[in-house]
């Protein structure tokens, strides 16, 4: 059977969703770990060092394209699913108590995903565009003479509004992950009584910890808790 047919099928589509989702989850882990280095309280030296490595290493730069590709697949596949699923019930129920049988966030993955995407565009404009395209020379160098991404963060998060948007983005991510993490395993067929609980616990922990770490970054920057 041809792969195109596989990915046109409903199961193939959710497989793709799960695979790209898990791929993005691994990215989140890397991203959160590196960014956490802002809390070294060394004026961003360690953080800037790793940021430079990520921005200059050829392998990482290549993987970045992979990341974009994965993200686009995830988004396009997700929107396709959304459109098809809406079309599968042209006349809606007049009265529906969906909350009695499922969680709102599991039913709102497309909405949460869109919010995350909007946030992501803003986020890319804040950092990625500056580091990769327009350059951040004007922010000067840090004490180790490295490009100072740390300073960019300090500037961006001076605005309370931006911080609020980032925190909201992290909430969207939390709910998206809360369903998405274990859902990805189910889509891959990895549902087993022996391991389900472990997957669920890890999923919940991941959904809480990672967005929390992300949310704390703008907050602690804004309130001057990192120096």
């Amino acid at each position: 059977m041809a792969y195109t047919a596989l990915f046109k099928s409903s199961i193939g589509k959710k497989l793709l969703m799960g695979l790209t989702g898990l791929f993005l989850i691994t990215f989140l882990l890397v991203h959160a770990s590196i960014n956490a280095m802002i809390w070294f309280q060394d004026g961003g030296v360690t953080f800037n060092k790793w940021a430079h490595f990520m921005g200059s290493n050829l392998i990482i730069r290549t993987m970045e394209w992979g990341l974009f590709f994965g993200l686009i697949l995830h988004v396009v596949d997700g929107l396709m699913l959304y459109a098809q699923n809406r079309a599968a019930r042209p006349v809606k129920y007049a009265y529906n108590r969906a909350g009695d049988n499922s969680s709102w966030y599991s039913r709102s993955m497309a909405l949460l995903g869109t919010l995350i995407l909007l946030f992501l565009i803003l986020h890319l404009a804040h950092f990625w565009v500056k580091t990769r395209i327009t350059g951040i020379e004007k922010y000067g160098l840090d004490t180790e003479n490295q490009e100072n991404l740390f300073a960019v963060m300090q500037e961006v998060f001076r605005s309370g509004l931006v911080v609020a948007i980032y925190v909201a983005g992290c909430f969207s991510l939390f709910w998206h992950l809360l369903h998405g993490f274990k859902s990805a395993f189910q889509s891959l067929g990895l549902n087993h009584v022996k391991y389900n609980e472990t997957i669920a616990v890890i999923g919940i922990a991941f959904s809480i910890i990672v967005p929390f770490v992300f949310a704390m970054m703008p907050i602690s920057m804004h309130f001057g808790l990192v120096r």
């Binding site: 059977m1 047919a5 596989l6 046109k8 099928s9 409903s10 199961i11 193939g12 589509k13 959710k14 497989l15 969703m17 699913l81 098809q84 699923n85 079309a87 599968a88 019930r89 042209p90 006349v91 809606k92 129920y93 007049a94 009265y95 529906n96 108590r97 969906a98 009695d100 049988n101 499922s102 599991s106 039913r107 993955m109 369903h179 274990k182 859902s183 189910q186 889509s187 891959l188 067929g189 990895l190 549902n191 009584v193």
Partner: protein, 248 residues
């Protein structure tokens, strides 16, 4: 007991439907929901109005023919029960109850609350069987089956094909139904020789019928009158992926 009913009335597949209000009084708490509709229909007939069309047959929760969306839920608020096993004591006197048909593009409405679920039959026809002609069978005990596998196969086989999974699914997906049959036959040695082809064919037919995609919400499992588990969908995913990716 007295109830206000808002019932979906629709002349035929092409017409637009709408909710119509009815008030019904003197309802006994021990009545089943369908008996309450019988009483309402009796009143409508006596008044010279068209009674409400609805599907029902065995009225003991096993044939899978009854199919109402009651009070915003497939088969109503009662857990693990079909519409015919829903009793009026579940509701409070004076309640307003919405009664709608199962709604999905793949389940076109025939009239009022009756819908066409023949898509399910076509999915079974595509591969939900073991190809064994009558008379070809070997002795029943020549093929031992692990008890646990037999029990799990029976769990999946308990599906009555009512379509509540589709009705409850926000995406109108039919994966719980399809996976129950794929699972049952995948867990038994009798289903072995055809399992790859079965998974591919049944999924193909499911997609062709216009059901939505599964996003692992789990409403199907929660509303299934026979408590078919989501593990079946995971197993179907494995069966399908094994058949499409690994197979030559």
């Amino acid at each position: 007991m007295k109830f206000n009913l808002k019932v979906w009335r629709q002349k035929n597949a092409k017409a637009d439907g709408r909710l119509v209000d009815y008030t019904i009084d003197n309802i006994n708490v021990d009545m089943s929901f369908l008996e309450m509709v019988d009483v309402l229909n009796d009143e409508l007939i006596r008044k010279g109005e068209d009674p409400i069309a609805f599907d029902h047959d065995c009225r003991e929760g096993i044939c899978g023919m009854c199919s109402m969306y009651i009070d915003g839920r497939a088969h109503g608020p009662h857990h693990a029960a079909t519409t015919c096993q829903l009793y009026m004591r579940t509701f409070k006197d004076g309640d307003t109850i919405y009664v709608e048909p199962f709604k999905a593009k793949a389940f076109p409405i025939i009239k009022d609350l009756a819908v066409d679920r023949s898509a399910f039959d076509r999915i079974i026809a595509a591969g939900g069987f073991v190809s064994v002609n009558t008379g070809q069978a070997q002795d029943a005990n020549s093929l031992p089956v692990e008890k646990e596998a037999a029990e799990k196969a029976m769990d999946a086989a308990a599906c009555i094909g009512c379509g509540a999974c589709v009705a409850a699914c926000p995406n109108s997906a039919a994966m719980l139904f399809v996976s129950a049959k794929i699972s049952q036959l995948a867990m038994l040695p009798q289903g072995g020789p055809e399992r790859k082809n079965r998974a591919i064919k049944m999924v193909e037919q499911m997609d062709a019928e216009g059901f939505g995609n599964c996003t692992n919400i789990g409403a199907c499992e929660a509303e299934c009158p026979k408590e078919i588990k989501l593990t079946n969908i995971a197993r179907m995913n494995r069966e399908y992926l094994a058949a499409t990716i690994i197979d030559e």
